[in-house]
């Protein structure tokens, strides 16, 4: 980058009245980082990156912290923290105070912690002897503090699968406060999670579009019991995380391809996948070997994150366009989501990518058994005319049952998460048991996780995180308190999200750059 350009960009960030102090500082740091040369990659990978066939989500040129960290909060509460000069907590007040402090010290790509832990089971031992009313009052203040101290839609707490006092209090507080932060995922087990807890969660969906629902046994099978749902529905190992995420734009790969569908599957796809993997590996080496995060950071020194529980995410997006483009090449008018040949092709593509990821060793990725984990990536604000992950494009979704049946076969491949969103009609408010049926059915038939969007909610999900409709409107005029709302506003402009007739499901990723 030329000095002149650097100066100009720095000035435009500093003078951007739509950004808070914290956001300006974040973008300035990114600008400085990006004045360094990119980690070493070959010319073909560099070209793919340049053309946007491979995308590093603007993570930066010199990774100095992992993209996502999932500290082992259970361990932290048990042993205290030398670095933070905190004794292990004994009371609920001490535990809440401890966690709040620790959260502010957890880095990530956005600068905010993307994982707050299995918050109900973390706090349950400290809730003993505390009355229901006192527990609720304390959690309520904690919840307000989270939203105000960590105002980013990627900050994510997990609850479930078991029912307990803490999870009930949290759902109740969610319905009262209507906050964007934290995002929330409920781990659902067919036996451990009662209908009554699900109904309470569904009532919460009706007011806040939270929580997201997660197939607990399926996650445990892929990642073990110690897993967490973080950020924009990324599933990773607790006590570990993901060094980076680099994503393959399947649409651009299809555009660049000429030849038969078989050629695409056998040659083009593995070629670009290997470039995607090359960029990942180089970024990981820089983080671990040059920036040496795991040698310096107190989270690693105190054992709260361990390198051997890390992996990296291999992301894909634009499946819908890729499939439709390839179908057009063949002169077929089948479209992804219509139940025919296009859907079959989509399964071949994702199956092939998963096979590639399984066979491709990745450095410092013992947390994934020495390979990366596959993630269906839900987009960022600069994505234009490309559908998130493996979703069916907005406006062309079939009715809910066919929608679920179409996307479910993809889910088993995405051990690092996938975010599908299903619209439910407002009439379910009178019959929440119908939603229990849908959740149970989706998980019984192999869906990994999903979110509901209810018609007439005050909240909108744009690319995976929540935005209040009113804040979206206000963003045009003034500054924005939540970092992710900025991103959502960009998403609305670029992705026709407002065209969702009934679905307002937003896929959350982040806003990696200031508005161009």
């Amino acid at each position: 980058m030329e000095m002149e350009e650097f100066v100009e960009q720095a000035r435009s960030i500093i003078n951007d009245g739509n950004l808070t102090f914290h956001q300006r500082k974040h973008y300035l740091a990114a600008l400085a980082e990006n004045s360094l040369p990119y980690p070493e990659i070959g010319p073909e990978a560099a070209e793919a990156l340049n053309k946007g066939i491979v995308s590093d989500l603007y993570e930066g040129h010199a990774p100095y912290r992992p993209r996502y960290l999932l500290p082992d909060y259970e361990l932290a509460l048990a042993q205290g923290s030398e670095h933070l000069e905190l004794e292990p907590p004994h009371t609920i007040d001490e535990a809440l105070n401890f966690l709040l402090i620790l959260y502010t010290q957890v880095p990530s790509i956005t600068g905010f912690p993307v994982f707050l832990g299995d918050i109900d089971s973390l706090l349950l031992p400290y809730a003993e002897g505390v009355s229901d009313a006192a527990l609720r009052a304390k959690l309520r203040l904690f919840w307000i503090a989270l939203d105000r101290i960590l105002p980013d839609g990627f900050v994510h707490a997990n609850i479930g699968p078991q029912d307990n006092r803490v999870v009930r209090a949290i759902l109740d507080i969610e319905r009262e406060l209507l906050q964007i932060v934290p995002n929330l995922s409920l781990k659902v087990h067919p036996d451990l999670t009662s209908d009554s807890l699900l109904l309470d969660a569904i009532e919460t969906v009706f007011t806040t579009a939270k929580p997201h629902f997660v197939n607990h046994p399926m996650m445990v099978e892929d990642l073990g019991t110690g897993y967490g749902i973080v950020s924009c529905y990324n599933s990773l190992k607790k006590g570990g995380g993901s060094h980076t995420m680099v994503r393959l734009n399947l649409k651009e790969a299809a555009v660049a391809h000429s030849g038969s569908i078989d050629d695409f599957i056998d040659a083009t796809l593995p070629f670009y996948a290997s470039l995607n993997a090359e960029v990942m590996a180089s970024r990981i080496r820089y983080l671990v070997e040059d920036a040496r995060f795991f040698e310096h950071d107190f989270l690693a020194r105190e054992g709260l994150v361990r390198l051997d529980r890390f992996s990296a995410m291999f992301g894909v997006y634009g499946l819908a366009e890729a499939v439709n483009i390839l179908m057009e090449h063949e002169g077929l008018d089948a479209r992804y989501g219509d139940g025919g040949a296009a859907d079959e092709l989509s399964y071949r593509i994702i199956g092939r990518i998963r096979a590639f990821v399984d066979d491709c060793p990745m450095p410092y990725s013992e947390g994934g058994g020495g390979r990366s984990l596959l993630h269906s990536q839900s987009g960022i604000d600069s994505d234009v005319n490309v559908t998130a992950g493996t979703r069916i494009p907005i406006g062309t979704e079939p009715e809910t049952f066919q929608h679920i049946s179409t996307v479910t076969p993809h889910h088993r491949h995405f051990d690092a998460g996938v975010s599908d969103i299903f619209h439910i009609d407002d009439t379910v408010r009178d019959n929440p048991e119908a939603v229990v049926d849908m959740i149970r059915g989706a998980f019984a038939t192999g869906m990994r996780e999903f979110t509901f969007n209810v018609d007439s909610n005050d909240f909108v999900r744009i690319t995976g995180y929540l935005v209040r409709k009113s804040e979206l409107a206000r963003f045009q005029e003034g500054g924005e308190r939540h970092a992710s709302t900025v991103f959502a506003a960009g998403s609305v402009a670029n992705s026709h999200v407002t065209e969702r007739t009934t679905k307002r499901v937003l896929i959350r990723e982040h806003s990696p750059r200031p508005a161009q």
Partner: protein, 285 residues
């Protein structure tokens, strides 16, 4: 498995408004009422294969050359409803003949997602053998037996039909269009003696899931009428579920367009009357 055929208008995989939980709904073709307020009059009569809709179909999806029956090319049909508009019989060429086996396979795919199935219409009880076979086949299938079986009916069926269904049906929702015979005749072109008998029979046998009162302004919305209805319902079963449905004009035939829609205030007022009679399970839509 049975060989009885059903005449089907349509199915939907997920419904949250046709009984408890999420339900697969079967809409049968053909109804013995001819309600002024019908929202989908094309489900009332059976197609006579007159062929009048073949020409107007913009997609050339219909043909009748190969035989006496009208044939639909489902791939070509865009569901534009032109055929329904031109049909002189209030019918549709889209209704299809199905076997119980066809439907069971459709239900099997959806089974993990639903609490049960509801057969609606048209009028479900106009094809009692088909409904009975469908339900008994479900109940006999180890993978589907847990699904509850409901009928959504206008109630105008002889008690023998309910007796036939009683062992394999878990519940029925019954419309009561009007308690007063004359009003009922005006609204539906039929007497209501069978409807009242059906409600009584189903309540006595613990098969009445819900009574639905369609409130049509100018016909059955005055306080006295609703008071009498509440008294009668309470004499049948004071704890029954009631759904109050306000008349809406969407989909109705031109003859009904002069009828005003039921307002929220009206429904609220009538709900209060029902609550004063001790009913506490009331849904209003």
């Amino acid at each position: 498995m049975s060989t009885v055929l059903g005449l089907l208008n349509n199915t939907i995989a997920f419904s949250s408004v046709d009984g408890p939980g999420n339900r697969f709904v079967v809409f049968l073709q053909g109804c013995n009422f001819n309600c002024v307020t019908c929202h989908n009059p094309y489900t009332i009569t059976r197609c006579t294969d007159c062929g009048l809709c073949v020409g107007p179909c913009p997609e050339h999806a219909l043909s009748i050359e190969d035989g006496p029956l009208i044939v639909l090319d489902t791939g070509a049909c865009t569901l534009c409803d032109v055929c329904i508009e031109v049909c002189p019989e209030d019918s549709t060429p889209l209704a299809r003949v199905v076997t119980v086996r066809d439907l069971i396979e459709e239900i099997r795919a959806v089974a993990p997602f639903i609490s049960g199935i509801t057969v609606s219409g048209g009028e479900a009880t106009q094809q009692p053998e088909f409904v009975a076979d469908l339900f008994s086949t479900l109940k006999a299938d180890p993978h589907l037996a847990h699904l509850t079986t409901f009928v959504d009916s206008n109630g105008a069926a002889p008690v023998e039909v309910w007796k036939r269904l009683a062992d394999v049906m878990d519940g029925a929702m019954v419309d009561l269009k009007a308690l007063d015979p004359a009003t009922h005749l005006r609204l539906t072109a039929r007497e209501n003696d069978q409807v009242l008998a059906s409600i009584e029979y189903l309540a006595q046998h613990d098969l009445l899931y819900e009574v639905r009162l369609l409130i049509v302004p100018g016909y059955n919305d005055d306080t006295q009428t609703v008071l009498r209805t509440a008294e009668w319902l309470s004499s049948v079963d004071p704890s029954m579920r009631i759904k109050l449905i306000g008349y809406r004009a969407h989909g109705v035939r031109p003859e009904a367009l002069h009828i005003p829609e039921a307002t929220g205030e009206l429904l609220e007022h009538l709900e209060t009357i029902l609550r004063e009679h001790g009913f506490d399970q009331i849904a209003v839509t």
